[in-house]
Symmetry: C2
């Protein structure tokens, strides 16, 4: 049985003037044509803004690239699903019978979407300031534990984590050439990821450095596809 | 000669308490290590939020997919560059000598980034309400001219526009099979885009419908890669 949304709003520290809005945020598209997808769209945008602003203030010396990586490390499907689980949000989701049977209330994507929809609902109910405060509180611990280092993983690690997050096969690195004398060799490495037909090539004075360079170029290529 | 930022802020209808912040928004990374990239990160997030909110209110019946497409049609590199050009923003950009020589002040990406950086600067200077009002004013005409139809282009058109926006080669459609009697045939069409190694296949009762179905699957696949 799905639990009453009031119990969850209490647990989340929220009081809604319009409880229907909160109930809508917990309704998955499998249950009704009136579902949380629009609120999720709104919540996603608000969350992106609130976290961008916190990071901008918190790390005055960080580059745009570092800020983007920090945000991606804070806000992603699995981090949002974890926050949802902390508050047993799954117990309050309204799902269609198919999703219910297949355990949709445990699924990262459904939990994460509902979490964003709750943010959207709070914004519609109480405006940006209240919503911002709640999101900041929700992420307070994570924000406190953050250092610019967490956004500065090396390119190979970043690429690997990206592939894992998207449930794609991992990148492959192939040595394509070595040149020069032993104390001043140059290595060339090709990076391939199954989903892209393009490959990238990096060079470096060690094989590892060449791999990192190839990974960095692949991240740039993915960024281009992603825009 | 680069013109004085005060002239531009007047033209944009803005008065900055901290004119340095506005000057920073106009400084490209080619000119200084202290440049507009951080403000652009912030502005991009604010813009996404402000437009999401406007669209949510304006189109109460639109699906999340339609809202996303509407936002992408309003907010993209070329629309932001066009807004920048309307206000001659290029004349006020601070660029490094290389970018200056190669005409960086005319480039979409540089203009669009500076436009977002101005939004970020305004937010830091005057807070979210003032920034929101200014963005809404900037997009007022475009928002007024919008209908949910503009977000409901057919999948082939959407895919083509996406490839064009990313300056990638256009998708190709290949008929792979036809089956059934003449009045109840089923067509299968494969969609290929050069950047992805995966292809998608769509089926339909006409070749055109099969192409649309294949394009739709390709959009979904790109969405997955994009997340």
């Amino acid at each position: 049985m799905v639990r009453k949304p009031e119990l969850l709003s209490k647990k989340l520290g929220l009081t809604f003037s319009d409880p229907q809005l909160f109930a809508l945020a917990l309704t998955h598209r499998s249950a009704s044509a009136k579902n949380n997808e629009r609120l999720e769209f709104l919540g996603d945008a608000i969350l992106g803004f609130v976290i961008a602003q916190k990071l901008y203030d918190r790390f005055p010396e960080a580059s745009e690239g570092t800020l983007s990586r920090l945000r991606a490390s804070l806000v992603n499907e699995s981090s949002l699903a974890a926050l949802a689980r902390q508050h047993q949000l799954g117990d309050y989701l309204v799902l269609g019978s198919g999703e219910l049977k297949s355990g949709g209330f445990r699924r990262d994507s459904i939990l994460s979407d509902a979490m964003e929809a709750v943010m959207g609902a709070l914004f519609k109910d109480q405006g940006i300031v209240a919503c911002q405060q709640w999101i900041e509180q929700l992420f307070a611990e994570k924000l406190a534990g953050l250092s610019t280092l967490s956004g500065q993983k090396d390119p190979k690690t970043q690429l690997q984590e990206l592939m894992q997050a998207r449930k794609l096969e991992l990148p492959e690195y192939t040595l394509i050439s070595m040149s020069g004398l032993s104390h001043e060799q140059t290595f060339s490495v090709k990076c391939t990821i199954p989903i892209l037909s393009d490959t990238t090539v990096g060079a470096g004075i060690t094989r590892k450095k060449a791999e990192q360079a190839a990974a960095e170029k692949m991240l740039e290529l993915l960024h281009k596809v992603n825009q």
